[in-house]
């Protein structure tokens, strides 16, 4: 936002705090930049306060005290924004569905947790449901298939929003896989603690992905994407895996998830 913007313009531009998510921060920052582009193109001002994680690893491990400490940090860091947007249904779901539950017995923090929950959204649902966007300015040639990540789907109702936006991408064809709404077997620490079962579930998912005969697999959560990409590459499959934001933002210069990063002139 330029410094000389009038007060009215200032108010008209929603201020969005980007909740990058720890996985995007550490593993694939380009998803975060794609999210920033989508939000800025949609007329938002985007800021990124200092952050670590939403606390889900502690929460799902039964460590409520640590989860509350982390949640308090997040609540404080994102207090000043009109909206909080995450390129993840899982982390947005944590803030939206679970923070209020976490502070249910704390009259001081509960209203703050609820206020944060009310203004927090998963990226595609923010664009479609809150900003009313139905088209993006992007092109992507080829067929894609879309995996519905569990938390986004069942905690936040993210299902039609990414598909609606993908339909506006020039050159893109969406083919649905079987059981697109069935878990990929990631489940956070589950993938490591119960790797045999996780391995079997992602095996079934990979078969469904393959049978869709799409060139690219998309989803809205990097945890699931790393799990599926890791399985597909382990099995020697050439299906590209990307976060849906990368395609919607037209930012696909970065190699797909798990693919080699080549210098100019280098061959795989």
């Amino acid at each position: 936002m330029s410094a000389d913007a009038s007060p009215t313009e200032r108010r008209a531009k929603p201020r969005v705090g980007l909740f990058v998510t720890c996985l995007v921060d550490l593993i694939r920052p380009s998803i975060g930049f794609a999210a920033v582009k989508l939000l800025e193109d949609a007329g938002c001002t985007v800021d990124v306060p200092v952050q670590t994680c939403c606390g889900q690893p502690a929460y799902n491990s039964g460590d409520r005290a640590t989860t509350r400490d982390i949640a308090e940090q997040v609540i404080a860091a994102f207090q000043g924004y009109d909206y909080v947007v995450a390129p993840s249904g899982s982390c947005a779901g944590m803030i939206k569905a679970h923070y209020p539950e976490l502070f249910a017995d704390d009259p001081n923090l509960l209203p703050k947790a609820e206020a944060l929950a009310d203004k927090t959204f998963e990226l595609t649902s923010f664009l479609v449901d809150v900003l009313g966007i139905s088209k993006v300015d992007a092109a992507f040639s080829g067929t894609v298939t879309y995996h519905d990540s569990c938390s986004g789907l069942r905690e936040l109702g993210v299902k039609t929003q990414p598909r609606k936006l993908l339909a506006s991408v020039e050159g893109l064809t969406l083919v649905e896989m079987n059981d697109s709404d069935v878990c990929c077997g990631f489940g956070g620490t589950f993938a490591v603690k119960y790797s045999d079962i996780s391995g079997a579930i992602v095996d079934a998912k990979a078969k469904n992905v393959e049978e869709a005969h799409a060139r690219t697999l998309l989803a809205g959560d990097l945890g699931c994407l790393m799990n599926m990409a890791g399985k597909l590459s382990r099995d020697g499959k050439t299906i590209e895996v990307r976060h849906v934001a990368e395609v919607l933002a037209g930012m696909t210069d970065e190699p797909p998830i798990g693919a080699p990063k080549l210098e100019k002139g280098e061959r795989p």
Partner: protein, 477 residues
């Protein structure tokens, strides 16, 4: 805890199940059959979602007033000429049932399908005391022949195929023609039917479970698809109903509402083939029915769940939809859970009944995908309740030490953003550089569980927060 419990060895059970090709094939049927049928049944009924709310509310109301409804129910049963026996635990229940069977001079007892009967292991107890229990539900009959536990709460033999059943029948039904044709499932069915018909007629006592107990009328309700429950409870002189205390509902109207979601959630049927209401023993004007009607009301851990974080679990009406939709159940089947109740409902209920120290794996071995909750007819928040068990484990230091120290290490940084940025920045530069060329790691230290089955995608190298600071600090504000 009983001798069959293998819940502590869940991981070993799971590994074995994953390697069992026959089981894996059988589990494929669960995935395809039940899910489509439920979805179609739910879609056909416009008020299905509203009925789920109503079923939840009825059960909640009953649990809030359970003491009153138990008293009212007992009074009605007594008034109709039946008897109610309260059993605090499995041992009490076994004693009561045995003495009732002895009073009846029973040599054989036919049984309708009942999960609480599995829970209290009544068959073993009767056998030890010289009484022969005969399961009459086809699936239960098959697993009784195999000395197995049910692997599913409504389809106990879902882990088996027809060839295995044929082998069991040939092994056990020795007096039949060894050259008979049993190649078709329908032939297996009619053989079981004719064998069981004799058993029905010879039985001295019939034991059934109950899907519901109605306080208003003192009625027990069972739903079956084979009609075996009716023959079990009508033909012998004595009918014993086994039910845990949370089976109560206030009125017949309430039962009618819940029945509308039960079969649809379970098998996708509008109604089960038989829905049978029993109130007291045979009256003078009745054409048939038992002379004696007993209800054994079993607590066995339920009252301790009342008023706790796990009270909502007592809404469960045992439809099996949660396991039918569970990716973990699809992968490992019911026996891996190691006790009576498998799948998501088992992952919540089992720790409550046998202890989280023994069943701790169950609420941990889940991805929290939430599909179970999304289909539960009484809207039990199963993932939330599983998380509560994890909290109990964490409080009691039951998680493995390596996991706890890993979590503590991560927590230390996650609570200190500045340090976190510094540490992750350095780590990602290193990992990014190491993985740049291949784009993925086939092996990583401390991530064996991950890399056993899949590669670990390499990070880009610079963290988002570092790159953002670098790029945006150059831009005018």
């Amino acid at each position: 805890m009983n001798v069959h419990t293998t819940s502590p060895q869940f991981k070993r059970n799971a590994a074995r199940a994953l390697a069992d090709t026959q089981l894996q094939k059988a589990l494929g049927n669960v995935k395809q059959g039940f899910i489509d049928k439920r979805a179609k049944a739910a879609a056909k009924l416009p008020e299905f979602e509203a009925l789920r709310d109503s079923a939840r509310d009825i059960k909640n109301h009953t649990l809030e007033n359970l003491d009153l409804y138990l008293e009212a129910y007992e009074a009605k049963v007594t008034a109709s000429g039946g008897h109610v026996h309260f059993a605090r635990n499995a041992e009490d229940a076994r004693d009561i049932i045995l003495s009732l069977c002895r009073e009846a001079g029973a040599k054989t007892v036919t049984k309708g399908k009942s999960m609480i009967a599995e829970e209290i292991e009544i068959n073993d107890h009767l056998e030890k005391n010289g009484i022969t229990p005969v399961e009459t539900d086809l699936g239960e009959y098959i697993i009784q022949l195999r000395h197995e536990l049910p692997s599913h709460i409504i389809a106990p033999a879902v882990h088996l195929n027809a060839t295995q059943v044929e082998q069991d029948f040939r092994r056990v039904h020795k007096n039949l023609d060894p050259n008979r044709d049993l190649s078709q499932p329908v032939q297996l069915l009619s053989e079981a039917r004719s064998v069981l018909r004799e058993r029905f007629l010879a039985a001295d006592v019939g034991i059934t479970g109950a899907n519901f107990l109605v306080a208003e009328t003192g009625t027990s309700v069972i739903v079956t698809n084979e009609g075996n429950g009716d023959l079990t409870q009508i033909l012998p002189k004595t009918h014993i109903v086994l039910a845990s205390i949370e089976k109560l509902v206030p009125t017949l109207e309430d039962v009618s509402q819940i029945l509308r979601v039960l079969a649809r959630s379970a098998t996708g049927q509008d109604m089960s083939v038989y829905t049978t209401f029993s109130t007291g023993p045979r009256r003078a004007s009745d054409a048939d029915g038992p002379e004696n009607y007993h209800v054994v009301l079993i607590d066995n851990g339920r009252s301790a769940m009342l008023g706790s974080d796990f009270q909502e679990m007592l809404r469960c009406i045992r439809c099996g939809a949660c396991m039918n939709h569970c990716p973990v159940y699809h992968a490992v089947g019911g026996h891996a859970y190691g006790w009576v109740y498998p799948g998501p409902m088992g992952a919540v209920l089992t720790p409550a009944l046998i202890g989280v120290d023994k069943a701790g794996h169950l609420p941990n071995a889940t991805t929290f995908c939430g599909r179970c909750e999304s289909v539960c007819p009484v809207r039990i928040p199963l993932p939330k309740l599983m998380r509560h068990w994890r909290e109990r484990e964490f409080e009691r230091h039951l998680a493995p030490a390596t996991f706890r120290s890993g979590l503590a290490f991560w927590s230390f940084f996650a609570k200190r953003p500045a340090l976190y940025r510094l540490a992750t920045r350095a780590a990602m530069v290193t990992l990014g550089f190491a993985g740049r060329h291949r784009g993925r790691f086939k092996w990583l230290p401390l991530a064996k569980g991950w890399t056993k089955y899949r590669d670990f995608p390499a990070p880009e190298g610079e963290t988002f927060q570092a790159r953002w600071k670098r790029e945006r600090s150059r831009r005018p504000a």
